[in-house]
């Protein structure tokens, strides 16, 4: 299976967060791929689409030499929060399996419906055949998780300086707007000097933390006013 470097790093970070000795999300992914391939010989790969706590994760891992345009069959399995054990009632989780042969998942979907019988939330509606014949996104995009990590760490730095979470988010928004960069870049600036004493806000230039001060030669426009 071809897991791009970016996704491998993300999966390693997620495995780290799981904090379960012996569990490696990449290995779970590889095992699922290997066993699906035994059941469906023309298996090409899978996409995972998850949303929990307002965070979204999408990734695709195709077999080596498989191309998105080879996909002729798909099976989408949607797991309800009750089954996946998520405490977030709005959490969503779907896995989409791809194969090269048209109709390749028919037997597997039928068997799974037969096997799961009365299992709550996994009725026939949970198994959707051949409606996802394109991968939902670029299989190897730049990692979004790393950017979210950077932002969350910067929020942590700002909280350590006495800001409430709301103030910390506001501070980061202002910094990004003031320096005309996106949030991850503003967060990186904060993390570059994590022990730099900050102020409660950005009302006056002399109270502004070092990472918000314009660099020599930079555009010296006025920062937005902190309400």
């Amino acid at each position: 299976m071809d897991i791009s470097t970016a996704w491998a790093a993300d999966l390693a970070a997620l495995t780290e967060s799981l904090d379960e000795p012996g569990t490696d999300i990449s290995q779970t992914l590889r095992q699922l791929a290997a066993d699906t391939k035994i059941a469906v010989h023309s298996y090409l790969g899978l996409s995972a689409i998850l949303s929990v706590g307002g965070r979204r994760l999408e990734f695709t891992a195709l077999e080596e030499d498989a191309e998105p345009e080879d996909i002729r069959a798909s099976l989408r399995i949607s797991f309800p929060p009750a089954l996946s054990g998520s405490e977030d009632p709005a959490a969503t989780a779907s896995l989409i399996l791809f194969a090269a042969m048209p109709g390749a998942f028919l037997d597997l979907a039928t068997d799974l419906s037969w096997l799961t019988g009365s299992l709550d939330g996994l009725d026939t509606a949970a198994f959707v055949l051949d409606e996802d014949l394109t991968v939902p996104h670029d299989p190897a995009p730049p990692s979004g998780l790393k950017a979210r990590s950077t932002i969350d760490q910067a929020i942590g730095v700002l909280i350590s300086q006495g800001n409430t979470p709301e103030q910390a988010h506001h501070h980061l928004d202002l910094l990004a707007a003031y320096t005309r960069v996106d949030q991850p870049t503003a967060a990186e600036a904060i993390l570059a000097e994590p022990d730099q004493p900050s102020t409660a806000g950005l009302r006056a230039d002399d109270r502004r933390p070092a990472h918000t001060r314009p660099q020599p030669g930079a555009d010296t426009h006025q920062p937005p006013q902190d309400p």
Binding site: A48, L50, F79, D111, G162, T164
Partner: protein
């Protein structure tokens, strides 16, 4: 003669009609159990235990059964005993897989054929396993490989305390049960792994933000790197034997509480 009677006659010409019919009904009951196998939960061990119980019911003379699967891991493929219908089967599995790495199930899985013994204590196929299991009072074994078209995925091991319990007829019934059981077990395993992956990703995705915030908090306090802050979190987690996400949440909650108190004072 009905279609059902034809099947019984083909299956067991040497048996009395009543016995063949009773065996056939048991087999059908065992096979029917495979439908709806994944009910209540998707716990693989639980559903394999159910398969072991269905096998005990489907195969005449069986006192207990176990299911083992071939599992691929980073060190290669190995045979794992995952479920047993009775405690004595678990004891035999321990001797077979953990202590001796020898026995009928290992033979059935590696050779991809049904293996039968009516006197384990004196069976030369397994000179170490046989006598030990015989001393436990278990003398008959029937091991059925779980075969997919071009792959063996595991085996069902059926045991009985008496001698010569499993004849050819029992082996035939066992094979009739093992064929759909192999497909059911494998597909259930695929579904269980899909759910495992989903749970792992969701759990990690929901705990990552607070872990990152705690890393940021520690970096803000000490000026260290993210790697150093994470290592510190891990040390606290291990020292207190508490999950990383719980430690992180506690650190963040405490800092937020202080920040809010300070915010109210000003």
């Amino acid at each position: 003669m009905t279609e059902f009677d034809d099947e019984v006659a083909i299956l067991a010409p040497a048996l009395s009609f009543e016995q063949a019919r009773a065996d056939d009904l048991d087999l059908r009951a065992g096979l029917a159990g495979l439908a709806g196998l994944v009910s209540g939960s998707l716990d693989l061990q639980e559903l394999l235990t159910r398969v072991a119980s269905f096998a005990t019911r489907a195969i005449p003379g069986a006192d207990g059964a176990g299911v083992t699967l071939l599992r691929a891991n980073q060190d290669g493929t190995r045979i794992e005993a995952l479920a047993a219908s009775a405690p004595f089967v678990r004891d035999i599995d321990e001797i077979q897989y953990v202590v001796l790495n020898e026995g009928p199930c290992i033979t059935a899985t590696l050779d991809r054929r049904t293996v039968r013994s009516g006197s384990l204590g004196g069976d030369r196929q397994w000179p170490r396993f046989g006598p030990r299991v015989g001393r436990l009072g278990v003398h008959s074994a029937l091991s059925l490989p779980l075969l997919l078209p071009d792959q063996v995925v595991g085996a069902i091991n059926v045991y009985a305390h008496g001698k010569d319990v499993f004849d050819e007829h029992a082996a035939e019934l066992g094979e009739l049960f093992a064929a759909p059981a192999a497909v059911a077990v494998h597909n259930a395993q695929v579904l269980a792994q899909a759910l495992d992956l989903t749970i792992q990703l969701q759990t990690a995705l929901s705990s990552r933000p607070v872990i990152d915030q705690a890393i940021g908090l520690l970096r803000g306090r000490t000026g260290g790197s993210a790697v150093e802050a994470f290592a510190r979190l891990r040390v606290i987690s291990q020292r207190e034997n508490v999950k990383l996400a719980v430690v992180a949440q506690r650190i963040v909650d405490e800092a937020v509480r202080r920040a809010r108190a300070r915010s109210h004072e000003t």
